[in-house]
Every structure is written in C-alpha cells, then in structure tokens.
Amino acid sequence: MANGELGLQGIAKTFRVDGRLLPALDGIDLQVTPGEFITIVGASGCGKSTLLRIIAGLETDHAGAAVHDGKTIRGPSLARGLVFQEPRLFPWLTVEANVALGLENAGLSRDAKRAAVSEHIALVGLTGFENAYPRQLSGGMAQRAAIARGLVNRPGVLLLDEPFGALDAFTRTHLQEELQGIVAREGITAVLVTHDVDEAVYLGDRVVVMAPRPGRITRIVAVDEPRPRSRTAAALLHKREAVLAALDSGGRGRPEPRRLDAPDEPLRQPAAAIALQGAA
C-alpha cells in the first residue's frame, strides 16, 4: 500500500472548560511515513486521545495542519479507522452486528461480510459470543469486540487509543502479535496510544513521548530493531529505559534529570513501578 502518510504541523488545541481556556495540545509536529508504526506514551491528560481524535477527523477545530496523503483532514474518513479508548459498542446490537458495523460501507457481498466478521471475532478470541449483547460481556471482552470492529475494514491508517489496556497479560500479548502481523502484512500505518512502555517499545517503529500542560511532544525514540522482535532483546530494553527517562524528565519538575542513555545498566526498579510514575 503506497499511501497512509500523515503530517501534523503546529497542531494546537484549546478546550474551553467553565469559561476558562485549557490548552490541551501545543506545537505538535510529526511526520508519519506510510506503513510506519507509531506508539504514543505520556501522562494521563497530556492530550493523547485528543491528538488521535484530530487525526481521525472528529476534532476539526484546532490550530495547525493535519494532513493525510496530501489532503487536509476535515472530517472522518473510511481510510482512517479509530478504536476509541472506551469500547462504545451499541448496546442494542449483538457482538456480531457491532463488528459488522465496520463493514456497512465496505461494498462487500453478504457472504464476504459474514466471513470477515467471523474471522475478526475469532481473531480477538470471541468465537461463541457472536450473539451476545454488550451488557453480557466483560470489560476486556467488550474492548476486544471494539478492536475487531475497528480492524475489520482494514483502513489504511489505524488509530488505536489504549486498545489493550483492559486485557489480561496473556490476551494482550496475543493481540499485540496479531495486530503487528496485520499491520505489517497490509502495510497499514498505525498510531497506537498506550500507558505500557514495554508495549510502546515492542510495537513501535518510533515511540512518541508526550508531556502535559500543554500537551506536547518531548521526545521521539526510534526503535530500529528489525521484526519479528524478541520482547527480551537488549536493544528493546535500552529503548525502554530511554522512553522511561524521557517520561520522567517531561513530568512535573523532577529535580534531578535521569540519564537519557544508560546502555549497560540493568534496571533497579520493577518495571511496573516506573511505568506508573510516568503515567500517574
């Protein structure tokens, strides 16, 4: 797939809350090449969802330019799929019908649709729950159904907002592999927001680190490790430290900045604790 190029120049977004202006994003510049896998990490409230919504075309009232394949983004498009931070399944539709919503406008035959839907339900491990209603699903199952809905029409650009946050470690690992495989096979450009630094480094070609008030990019860590990657590769561990350090220094004024590169030093703190510091 030759397209799927994204360009963000000088993106700024201000919300008005209670009559006061709240700068959510400021001076966001990012070029994404076709087929690239971008992951975004940053403290809660630093504007990650807002940035995805701008790329998706849901938020058009902002400063700066958001461009997809040379065209300014003025609204949602089938060429850009979005998996929301919450599942947002329609409660009156079964799992199957919710996933099929992703194909309403795909122009497929009835049979092709049904096949694609059941293939994606299987992919996220919900076979047997085709006829269940959303209220009969657990939070993680609902999130997986939402992932299937976002994936089923294979958009050229796939935007994912903490898609695996509600999942157990085993399912998360499985879905990371599946997502990576699909994105690579189809040449999809992916932008994935996560709070999990391991996930960001494992999946991303580049990890974008953001900081809050106003939401801005503080560092971009390139992960050049070839795929398929091993989760325990030394290079990934180093990148992870770089991301954690960037998250830490971008936070609210830690007195002593951590070293950005600590090539040979093993981590002393448990990973989860560090990740929480960054995300809190």
Partner: protein, 270 residues
Amino acid sequence: MSLLAYAPPRSGDFTVALLVRLRHAAIGLLVPLTLVLVWALASARGWLPEQVLPAPSYVWQNLRDMAASGELAQHAGISAIRVAVGFAVGAGLGLLLGIAIGLSRPVEDYVRPLFTAVAQVPTIGWIPLLMLFLGIGETLKIVVIAKAAFFPMVVNTAAGIQNIPLSYREVAAVLRLTRWQSLRRLVLPGALPSIFTGVRYSLTKAWTALVAVELLASAEGLGYLLVWSRQMFWLDTMLAAMLVIGLVGYVMDAMLAAAEARLQAWRIDA
C-alpha cells in the same frame, strides 16, 4: 418489570416460573378485588343510596345484558375504530415530526416555538374551532383524537433522539454511516425506549380525547355511553362503561409492553 423485586433467574424450572407468575397475578388482583368487596359491602349495608352506588351484581347484570344485546359491542367497536384510526394517524405523523426535530437543528428551530404554544391548549379547547371547519362528522373525531396522540409522540421521539450519547454518534461518524444506516442502527434503536413512552402517552391521550369528542358530538361509542348514562343517572350503565374502558386500556397497555419486550431484548434478561 419491577425494579424493587429482584429474583435471580432460575432457568429451566417451569414449576417455579409458573408459581412466580401466579403469585404476580394474585398480587395484581388483590387491590381490585378488595375494592369490589368494599363496594359490595357498601351497597349491601346501604352506606350510599342505590341511585349513587348500585350494587356490583346489578352492574354485572347490566354489563351482561348490554353484551348479550350487542349494544356494548357496538359502542365499544365504534370507539375502538375511532381510537385506532386517530391514534395511528396522530402517532404516525408525530413519529415522523419527532424524528425530523430530533435529527435536524433547523427543523427544531422553526417548529418548536409554535409547537410548544399549540401543545399548551387542551384538546377540549380545539373542538369548537375544529367543528367550524370539519362539522361534527367522523372526520372531526379522528382529527381530535389524532391531535391528542400527536403531541406526546413528537416530544418523546425528539427527546429520545437528542439524548443519544455523543460517544455513539462519534462511532457512527468514524464508520461513515450514511443517514439511513445511522437511522436504522443507531437513532431508532437508541430512541426506542423513549418512543415507547411516547406511544403509551399517546394512547392514553387518544382515549381521553375520545371521551371528550364523543361527549360533545356523538350519539354512539363508549364515551357517549359514559356521558349519557351519567346524565340519565343510569349509574349501572356508567360503571359498566367505565369498566370496559379500563379493561380495554389495560389490555392495550399489556400488548404494548409485550411488543416493547420483544423489540428491546438487549435490555432484558434472556
């Protein structure tokens, strides 16, 4: 569905299910039966003169006589047709206007002020004016009933659509659902609970309007029977007509509830 009494579902146990239903029915009959009992007692003891409160047996006898002579069926049939046609026209148009208002800001801006003002005028207030234009024939009755059914339908349909969460509308936007697709998959199912509230209100209003219009401009129908028998002090006939109206209303409401349960399987435990 009672919100207060939560019984964990025991699937497959038919005897239990049957007992639960019987118990439910018994509870529902308790108050009406007590009332009839008090009524019987009151007339037997002569607490109230017979001209004011005839005995239940007397009313029952009257009801059976009217049923046997075909008089009751005739009145009830005429009223039922009026309500059915008026309700279908009024609620149908109300549904359409409610959808238009719910979906389109401009339509709402144009229609809402007039609509609100008109809705304040009680149905009875319209009858003299409408008589001037329509005479006192069948058209008048249908129009009055339709008008009564129209307003609650518009208000509830529009509110149901406007209350659909933004988060779902964003999903429809991202998936680029067409107008028709989002009407079918999002707007109508999302507004359905509110639309049903509208249907129930409409139906109640239609019956009320029926009585009002039959009172002023009819020589047949249950409303006529009610009013006429009251004026003639045939209180047994009046009570019989009241019973029939109440019963028909109850049956229609039960049918609506059943339709609602079928259409909203997603909300109710399987």
